[in-house]
C-alpha cells in the first residue's frame, strides 16, 4: 500500500512538474517561433499558449512537441510546425462568431486551436484511427465546439455549408471545386497547393462573389498529401 501511495505521489509530482515545464516550453514556442516570425494577433497567440500541443503528439515523441518542426503522427501523416499552424490560423482572421471547416483533422491540434477562437469548427478526416484519437483528445480537453466527420475531404462537409473560412491542412494538387462552392462570399480558404512531399504554395483564396475568386501566395511549405476516400 505504501509503495502505491508513494508512486501515486510521484505521479502527481511528475505531472505537476512536467505540466509546468510544458507551459514554459509553450510560452517559449509562442515567443520565438510564432510571435518572433511576425504573428501579431493576440487572440491567436493566446490560443497557442492555452492549447497543450504535447497532448496531440504521440507519446514517444512528446519531448519534441514544442520544437520548431513538423512531427510524424502515424499513417504517413504529420502535425505541422507550430508557426505554420499559427500562420494558417491568423490568415483566416478568426472571429468569435465564425464557422470554420477544417480538411484533414490529423492530430487535432489545428482544430483545437481554432476552437479557442471561433464559434464552431467542423473537421473532416479520412483516416478513421486518426480521427478516433483526435475525438478522444477533444473530449478529454472539453473542446465541445468541434464537430468531426469521417469522410473524403475533397468533398468538404456540404450539410453545414456555407463556411466563413476553410482551412486545408494537407497538400492537394488543386483547389477542390466543392470547397469553393461551400465557402461564403467574402470567405477565405487557406490551402497548400502542390504535389505531396514537394514544395507547395500556401494559397489564400478569397471568394469575391459567386463567380470570382482571387488568390495570393502566402508561403512556400511542405505538407503531406490529401488522402482521398475513407480508410
Amino acid at each position: 500500500m505504501k509503495v502505491k501511495k508513494i508512486l501515486a505521489i510521484l505521479l502527481i509530482f511528475k505531472t505537476f512538474v512536467f505540466a509546468d515545464e510544458y507551459k514554459i516550453l509553450r510560452q517559449q514556442m509562442v515567443k520565438f517561433q510564432i510571435e518572433g516570425r511576425g504573428i501579431k494577433n493576440t487572440n491567436v497567440l493566446n490560443a497557442f499558449i492555452e492549447v497543450p500541443r504535447h497532448y496531440f503528439v504521440p507519446d514517444n515523441i512528446k519531448n519534441l512537441a514544442y520544437e520548431d518542426r513538423p512531427l510524424p503522427i502515424g499513417y504517413g501523416q504529420t502535425i505541422s510546425q507550430p508557426y505554420i499552424v499559427a500562420l494558417m490560423t491568423e490568415l483566416i482572421k478568426p472571429e468569435p462568431n465564425m464557422k470554420v471547416l477544417e480538411i484533414g483533422t490529423g492530430s487535432g491540434y489545428q482544430a483545437a486551436i481554432l476552437s479557442r477562437l471561433v464559434k464552431e469548427v467542423y473537421t473532416v478526416e479520412i483516416i478513421s484511427n486518426l480521427l478516433k484519437t483526435a475525438q478522444t483528445k477533444f473530449k478529454e480537453l472539453n473542446y465541445t465546439n468541434i464537430y468531426t466527420k469521417w469522410d473524403d475531404g475533397y468533398y468538404g462537409w456540404k450539410e453545414n455549408a456555407p463556411y466563413d473560412a476553410i482551412v486545408v491542412t494537407c497538400a492537394t494538387e488543386f483547389v477542390p471545386p466543392p470547397l469553393i462552392k461551400q465557402l461564403k462570399v467574402g470567405g477565405v480558404i487557406v490551402i497548400p497547393v502542390g504535389p505531396p512531399f514537394r514544395v507547395q504554395e500556401l494559397l489564400l483564396v478569397k471568394k469575391i462573389d459567386k463567380k470570382t475568386v482571387k488568390t495570393s501566395i502566402v508561403e512556400k511549405v511542405i505538407f503531406v498529401g490529401m488522402t482521398r476516400e475513407k480508410r
Binding site: 518542426r69 504517413g76 473524403d152 475533397y154 494538387e173 488543386f174 483547389v175 471545386p177 466543392p178 469553393i180 462552392k181 497547393v193 502542390g194 504535389p195 505531396p196 512531399f197 514537394r198 514544395v199 504554395e201 494559397l203 483564396v205 463567380k211 470570382t212 475568386v213 482571387k214 488568390t215 495570393s216 501566395i217 512556400k220 511542405i222 498529401g225 488522402t227 482521398r228 476516400e229 475513407k230 480508410r231
Partner: protein, 787 residues
C-alpha cells in the same frame, strides 16, 4: 608468368572494368528509382573517387606486394566480389531521407555513409586494375583490356534493362564476373582458395535474397507513386522496366491530378489512371469519354488556344509529347477531328494508341519531336506542348538537356504553322516562376533572331494559379475574345499588346518575379542587360546550351542558395546540386587522394620529385581532358541521336572502344610519330566540334543506322588518339620510376572525379562548345609537358 596466366590477368581486367561500368549505370537507375535523377553525377564521381583511392592504397603497399603480385591480385578480386553485394546491401538497408537533409543532421551523416559505402566496390575494383599495371606486361595491352571491358560494360546493361529490372541486371552481371573468376582460378591452379569463393558466393546469395525479400529497392515514401499507392483500392495496372525508366500505370479511388484548373470551375473531376516513370508522375490516362465528365479539360490554362478553333473540325492540331490522353481528349471535346500526336516514349505511345485504337482521326507517331519538325510537310493550326519534361528521362545525365524549348526548336515549330496557326506552350508558374519566364525569353529570342514581323502583337501570355500558357500566333488574336475568355475562365493576362495596367492581376496576386514588369523588360530594347542582371538564369535556351531547367547563376549563387533553402527541397536544386557535389568530391578527393599522394611524394628524393610533379600534372591534365570531351559529346549528340540513352551508350561505347585500340597501337608507334599524332589531337577535337554542330543542322532527319555510323566515324579519330597519352606515359614511368605508377593512376582518377562533374557544370554555365575547346587546350598542355 606463362601465357595462360597472362591471358587470365587480361580476362580479370576486362571483366572487372566491364563490371565497374555496368555497376555504375545500374546504380544510376537504382538511385533514380529510390531517390531521384539528381544523384546521377554522384554515382559517377564516387566511381572515379574509387579509382583515385585505389591508386593511393597501392602506392603505400606496392613494396610489400611485388613479390606475391598474383596472390595479391587474387585477394583483391575476392575483395571486389565480396564488396559488391555487401555494400550494395548496406546502402539499401540503411534508409536515407534526402528530403529531411535540410533540417535533420542525422540525414547528412547517413548521406556520407551511403557515399562511403558505395565507394568501396569501386575502390576494390580499381585496385585490381591498378595492380594490373604492375605485372610485367605491356601497359598498352592492360589499358586495352581495361577500356574494351568498360566499353562492353557501357552497352550490356542497356540491353539487359529491356528485359530485367536494374536489380536483376546487376545480379546477372555480378554472377557473370564470379563465373569468370572461378575459371581463372582453375587456370591459375589455385584450387585451395575455392572455399573462399564458395563463402563469397554464399554471402552474396544471402545479400541478394535479403534485398529481394525485404523489397529494399522500393520507392522513397516521398515519391508521387508512393502517395498514390497509399490511396484506397490502389492498383498498379501495368509495370514495364525500360532503359528510359520504370513505367507504371496506377489507379486508385479518388486519384486525380489537374494542373492549371480555373477556380471558377465547380464541376467534378473524374477518376484518372496516372502514369509514372521511376515513381514520378508523367501523364494521365482518362477512362471516361463522357463529354460532361471531361468538361474540366476546358477549364485549364492550356485549353485557352483551343477556344480559337473550337468546332472547326477541318482544323489540324499537333500535340507534342502529351504523355497521356488528356490533351487528345481536349482536342476531341473542342470538336477537332484531325489530331496528330508525337510521343517520344514508345511505351507511352503504345498505351495511348491502345486508348484510341477505334478513332481514325487521331494519328499517333512514335518519333523524336525535332526529327518530326525537320521532316513534316504538314501544316498545323495549333501546336500544343503542355508541361512536357516535368519528369526526367535521362538515366545518366540528371540535369536534363531539353532540346524542345530551344530557340532553334521553337523556330522549327513556327515553320510548321498554317497561315493563322498558333503555338501554345504551357509551363509551371510555381514560385519563383523562372520556368515561365524562361519560355517567354526563349520565344522572344526566337522572334528576334529569325525576324518574325511585329511579333509583340502576336503574343499572348496568360496564367492560372500554377501554370502559364504562352501563345504565339501567325496573325493577331482577336482582342475581344481574349478579354471575354479570360473573364469566363478566371485567368490573368500576363502579356498582350493591348493589355492595360488596370487589367493586371485580376485573379492572382502579383508574383515577385513572374510579373508584367519582368515581361515588358524582356520585350524591351534593354532585354540583354536585363536578362544578364536578373538574379536567376533566364537566358533563352539554345541547342548549344539546352538547360531549360537550370535557374542558377554563379554570381548570385550564394543568394539563390540561401533563398532556395526556404523554398526548394535538396533534391530539386538542379545545378545547385552539381555545385555542392563538385565541392564535396573535391574535398573528399583532396583528403583521400591528393594529401596521401603528396605525402608519398615528399618521401621521394629531390631529383625524382620534379619528374614526379611533372608526371602528376600530366596525368591530372589528361584525366580532365578526357571527360571534357566525353561529357559534352554525350550531351551534344542527344539531339542528333534522339534520346539521351542512345547518346550515352553510343558515345561511351565508341569512345572506350577506339581509345582501347589507340592504346594498343600506341606502343607500336615510334616516339616522334607519337608526338606528331598527339599534336594533331587538339585540331581533330576542334574539327569534330564543328562537325557535330553541322550534323545537328543537316542530318537530323537521317535514319538511325546512318546516325550511329556517322557518330562512330566522328568519334573514331579523336578517341583513337585519346587512347595514346595514358599508356605512353605509364610505359615511360615503368622504365624509370615504377614506384610512381599507382600514384599516377590515383591522380588520373582524382582528375576524372573533378572533371566528370565540372564538365557537366561548365556545359550548363558556358555551353558545350567552350568545354570542348577547353579539352583541346588541356591536351595541348599535356603534350607539351612530355615531348
Amino acid at each position: 608468368m606463362n601465357d595462360r596466366s597472362h591471358f587470365t590477368v587480361y580476362s580479370v581486367i576486362f571483366f572487372t572494368s566491364f563490371t565497374i561500368i555496368s555497376m555504375e549505370i545500374l546504380l544510376v537507375r537504382i538511385f533514380s528509382i529510390k531517390e531521384g535523377q539528381s544523384y546521377a553525377p554522384l554515382i559517377i564521381s564516387l566511381a572515379l573517387l574509387g579509382y583515385g583511392i585505389s591508386g593511393v592504397i597501392l602506392g603505400y603497399i606496392r613494396n610489400k606486394i611485388e613479390k606475391n603480385l598474383l596472390e595479391f591480385f587474387i585477394a583483391e578480386t575476392f575483395l571486389f566480389t565480396l564488396s559488391i553485394p555487401l555494400s550494395f546491401f548496406l546502402y539499401l538497408a540503411v534508409p536515407l531521407n534526402t528530403l529531411e537533409i535540410i533540417w535533420d543532421v542525422k540525414q547528412i551523416f547517413l548521406f556520407l555513409f551511403h557515399f562511403l559505402i558505395l565507394v568501396i566496390p569501386f575502390t576494390t575494383g580499381s585496385l585490381i586494375l591498378a595492380t594490373g599495371f604492375l605485372f610485367k606486361l605491356k601497359s598498352s595491352n592492360i589499358y586495352f583490356f581495361n577500356m574494351a571491358g568498360s566499353a562492353s560494360g557501357a552497352i550490356l546493361p542497356l540491353i539487359l534493362l529491356h528485359f530485367l529490372s536494374p536489380f536483376w541486371a546487376l545480379t546477372v552481371i555480378y554472377f557473370t564476373f564470379i563465373s569468370i573468376f572461378f575459371l581463372c582460378l582453375l587456370i591459375w591452379e589455385k584450387k585451395r582458395v575455392f572455399s573462399f569463393l564458395l563463402i563469397t558466393v554464399f554471402l552474396s546469395l544471402i545479400c541478394y535474397w535479403l534485398t529481394e525479400k525485404l523489397n529494399l529497392i522500393s520507392y522513397s515514401p516521398y515519391k508521387a507513386i508512393s502517395y498514390a499507392l497509399n490511396l484506397p483500392e490502389a492498383k498498379i495496372l501495368l509495370t514495364k522496366d525500360t532503359p528510359y525508366g520504370k513505367i507504371e500505370l496506377v489507379t486508385a479511388k479518388g486519384l486525380r491530378k489537374v494542373n492549371g484548373l480555373s477556380f471558377i470551375f465547380t464541376g467534378d473531376i473524374p477518376q484518372q489512371k496516372l502514369l509514372y516513370i521511376d515513381g514520378n508522375h508523367c501523364g494521365t490516362l482518362l477512362s471516361s469519354k463522357d463529354k460532361k465528365e471531361l468538361e474540366y479539360l476546358k477549364w485549364q490554362s492550356c485549353s485557352f488556344p483551343f477556344y480559337f478553333i473550337e468546332n472547326q473540325s477541318e482544323r489540324k492540331i499537333l500535340l507534342i509529347n502529351p504523355s497521356g490522353s488528356e490533351s487528345i481528349l481536349r482536342g476531341i471535346i473542342f470538336g477537332i477531328s484531325n489530331i496528330t500526336v508525337i510521343e517520344e516514349n514508345k511505351y507511352i505511345a503504345s498505351l495511348i494508341e491502345r486508348e484510341f485504337s477505334n478513332n481514325n482521326s487521331i494519328k499517333i507517331i512514335n518519333t523524336e519531336a525535332r526529327k518530326f519538325f525537320k521532316t513534316s510537310i504538314d501544316k498545323f493550326d495549333l501546336i500544343d506542348v503542355s508541361l512536357y519534361d516535368s519528369y526526367a528521362t535521362s538515366p545518366i545525365l540528371s540535369l536534363n538537356e531539353n532540346y524542345l524549348y530551344t530557340v532553334e526548336s521553337l523556330y522549327e515549330m513556327y515553320n510548321l504553322l498554317s497561315s493563322d496557326g498558333i503555338i501554345s506552350l504551357t509551363r509551371w508558374a510555381i514560385y519563383p516562376g523562372i520556368d515561365a519566364i524562361k519560355i517567354f525569353s526563349s520565344i522572344i529570342e526566337m522572334c528576334e533572331r529569325y525576324g518574325i514581323p511585329e511579333y509583340w502583337e502576336k503574343i499572348l501570355f496568360i496564367r492560372s494559379h500554377n501554370t502559364v500558357t504562352l501563345c504565339l500566333s501567325k496573325t493577331n488574336l482577336p482582342k475581344e475574345n481574349i478579354i471575354s475568355l479570360t473573364r469566363k475562365l478566371g485567368f490573368d493576362i500576363l502579356y498582350h499588346y493591348t493589355l492595360k495596367k488596370e487589367m493586371l492581376n485580376q485573379y492572382f496576386e502579383e508574383s515577385e518575379y513572374l510579373n508584367f514588369n519582368t515581361i515588358t523588360n524582356i520585350l524591351s530594347e534593354k532585354r540583354i542587360p536585363y536578362i544578364k542582371d536578373f538574379p536567376f538564369d533566364i537566358k533563352p535556351t539554345t541547342d548549344n546550351r539546352p538547360y531549360y531547367h537550370n535557374i542558377f547563376k554563379i554570381k548570385t549563387l550564394k543568394d539563390i542558395l540561401s533563398r532556395s533553402l526556404q523554398f526548394l527541397p535538396f533534391n530539386e536544386w538542379g545545378s545547385g546540386i552539381l555545385i555542392i557535389l563538385v565541392t564535396f568530391t573535391l574535398l573528399s578527393g583532396f583528403i583521400l587522394i591528393l594529401l596521401p599522394s603528396l605525402f608519398l611524394v615528399s618521401k621521394e628524393k629531390a631529383t625524382g620529385c620534379i619528374k614526379l610533379l611533372k608526371s602528376f600534372l600530366y596525368f591530372f591534365l589528361i584525366g580532365n581532358a578526357y571527360f571534357f570531351v566525353e561529357i559534352p559529346l554525350i550531351q551534344k549528340l542527344i539531339l542528333f541521336l534522339g534520346r539521351p540513352i542512345y547518346s550515352f551508350s553510343i558515345v561511351l561505347f565508341s569512345m572506350l572502344l577506339f581509345s582501347s585500340i589507340g592504346s594498343l597501337i600506341s606502343s607500336k608507334i615510334k616516339e616522334k610519330y607519337q608526338k606528331i599524332l598527339l599534336s594533331l589531337l587538339p585540331l581533330i577535337l576542334l574539327i569534330s566540334l564543328f562537325t557535330v554542330n553541322y550534323l545537328n543542322k543537316i542530318l537530323l532527319s537521317a535514319s538511325m543506322l546512318s546516325k550511329v555510323l556517322i557518330t562512330l566515324l566522328l568519334i573514331a579519330p579523336q578517341a583513337f588518339l585519346m587512347g595514346f597519352p595514358f599508356p605512353i606515359m605509364i610505359d615511360r614511368i615503368k622504365k624509370q620510376h615504377p614506384s610512381f605508377i599507382p600514384l599516377m593512376w590515383g591522380i588520373n582518377g582524382f582528375a576524372s572525379v573533378i572533371s566528370s562533374i565540372l564538365a557537366a557544370l561548365l556545359s550548363i554555365l558556358c555551353g558545350f562548345n567552350i568545354v570542348l575547346i577547353l579539352s583541346a587546350i588541356l591536351y595541348t598542355l599535356a603534350t607539351s609537358l612530355v615531348f
